[in-house]
Amino acid sequence: MDRIIRVMVAKPGLDSHDRGAKVVARAYRDAGMEVVYTGLHQTPEQIADGAVQEDVDVLAVSILSGAHSVLLPRIISRLRERGGTCRVLAGGVIPEEDVPGLLEAGVARVFGPGSRLDAIVDFTRELVRSRV
């Protein structure tokens, strides 16, 4: 039987809107996944602890503030420290030159502006499949 994929869509830091995150959350839901949405202004600790408690397969972090190179490594190290095994995706306004650093920090892939929703959903599904 196909297991239902669980995803957390998280918004760390000071971003003032979550339009993109909500659109992605809906796309996940419409693809039959269960999406835990955190809302705005979450700390890295809140997000990492939440992802552990919810036992999600994938944590999708949306950042528009420019603080991605600080926030994402903090989220990932807290996540691993607490025994979280989920894969991490990043989305939002992230300059090309910052991407290699994020991948090195453990982000599976970065989706910038203009990314197609079906590409995000397909990649997420593949990521979960390859994990099992």
Partner: protein
């Protein structure tokens, strides 16, 4: 099992994984539930229900934080509906649980209904049990008060808090048949809004008419709250505590009733699936179905035929049982 020992030690990741496992239908590792069962049964469970939009999640956030003053570890289970079309769900309770999610002493887990009614209450009961065994001394279970499954879930709570808000209008009338009976404590949330007086007094009037609850004649109190800023929360916690204290003498009897209801449900589900399997495999299912569709047999008698074949009973014995007459006759005898 390594998972079990980590869970019993209170490890959050182990608890989270265990909940994922029991959320499947049927729960995949029966050993897991069997292994933790002796360690559960210690937690106090508070159920929170009410119509959508009354502020349940915000109230749960406040209550979880307040209960942390008396409990080292608090668990929250938030149940949300799955989409009937895609099976997906957006679980948004964390958006309102800002304070609780920042407190590592509060474990929050969102559950989707996954379109299974009876199975949902079983999955929730098992999740409560896991949290309990993992040392969460107080567990808050939040559901949308919309249907039978939610009412069933509330059977697992020692205290049921029903949350309403002003502006529901006739909805208060409409829901009284469903959730008013199961509430031990009522909160009128958003009490700073117009119409809070009216909602409270309507509610009190309805509760006046309700028959006294059995043990001790507990009259469900109505507390006004503003979950957004915390007004009324201490009073609400006090009422919940009073109800818990009041429950103590009958707790043993209550647990037995719960166990009986769960056993009956499980036996029913198990017997049904075994009987159906047998009927399908032996071909009798199709036989009886043909007879029903062809109007040669009515569904009631069709079911009786299958059940009595399965149980291999003497035909005479279960003839009378269809109207319950046999039980009556035996009493007379």
């Amino acid at each position: 099992m390594e998972l079990v020992s980590r869970l019993l030690a209170g490890d959050a990741a182990a608890l989270a994984r265990a909940i994922t496992l029991v959320e499947c239908d049927p729960p995949s590792p029966r050993d897991l539930l069997a292994a933790i069962y002796p360690y559960a049964g210690k937690a106090r469970v508070v159920g929170i229900t009410g119509p959508p939009g009354v502020g349940k999640s915000t109230l749960v956030d406040q209550l979880a934080t307040a209960f942390r003053q008396t409990h080292a570890e608090v668990g929250v289970l938030a149940v949300d509906p799955s989409s009937p079309f895609t099976g997906g769900a957006i679980l948004g309770d964390r958006v309102r649980m800002v304070r609780s999610s920042a407190d590592p002493g509060i474990f929050i887990r969102s559950l989707a209904t996954r379109g299974q009614l009876g199975g949902l209450s079983q999955a929730t009961a098992n999740a409560i049990r896991l949290m309990d065994a993992a040392g969460r001394g107080l567990i808050l279970v939040e559901t949308v008060g919309a249907g039978q499954a939610e009412v069933d879930i509330m059977n697992h709570a020692h205290t049921v808090l029903v949350v309403l808000a002003p502006g529901l209008g006739d909805d208060v009338q409409a829901i009284k048949a469903g959730i008013l009976e199961i509430g031990h404590v009522f909160a009128v949330n958003k009490a700073d809004r117009d119409g809070a007086d009216r909602t409270s007094s309507e509610l009190e009037a309805m509760l006046e008419m309700a028959p006294d609850r059995a043990a001790g004649g507990w009259r469900p109190p109505v507390v006004r709250t503003v979950a957004r800023d915390g007004r009324g929360i201490p009073e609400l916690v006090q009422k919940l505590d009073e109800h818990w204290d009041r429950r103590q003498p009958e707790l043993g009897a209550w647990q037995r009733r719960q166990a009986a209801a769960e056993l009956a449900e499980l036996v029913g589900a198990m017997a049904r699936s075994r009987l159906q399997d047998w009927a399908v495999k032996s071909g009798r299912w199709e036989e009886v179905l043909d007879a029903i569709v062809g109007r040669r047999l009515d569904p009631q008698r069709g079911a009786e035929t299958l059940v009595s074949h399965y149980l291999n009973c003497r035909p005479g014995e279960d003839q009378g049982s269809k109207t319950g007459g046999r039980i009556g006759r035996r009493k007379d005898a």
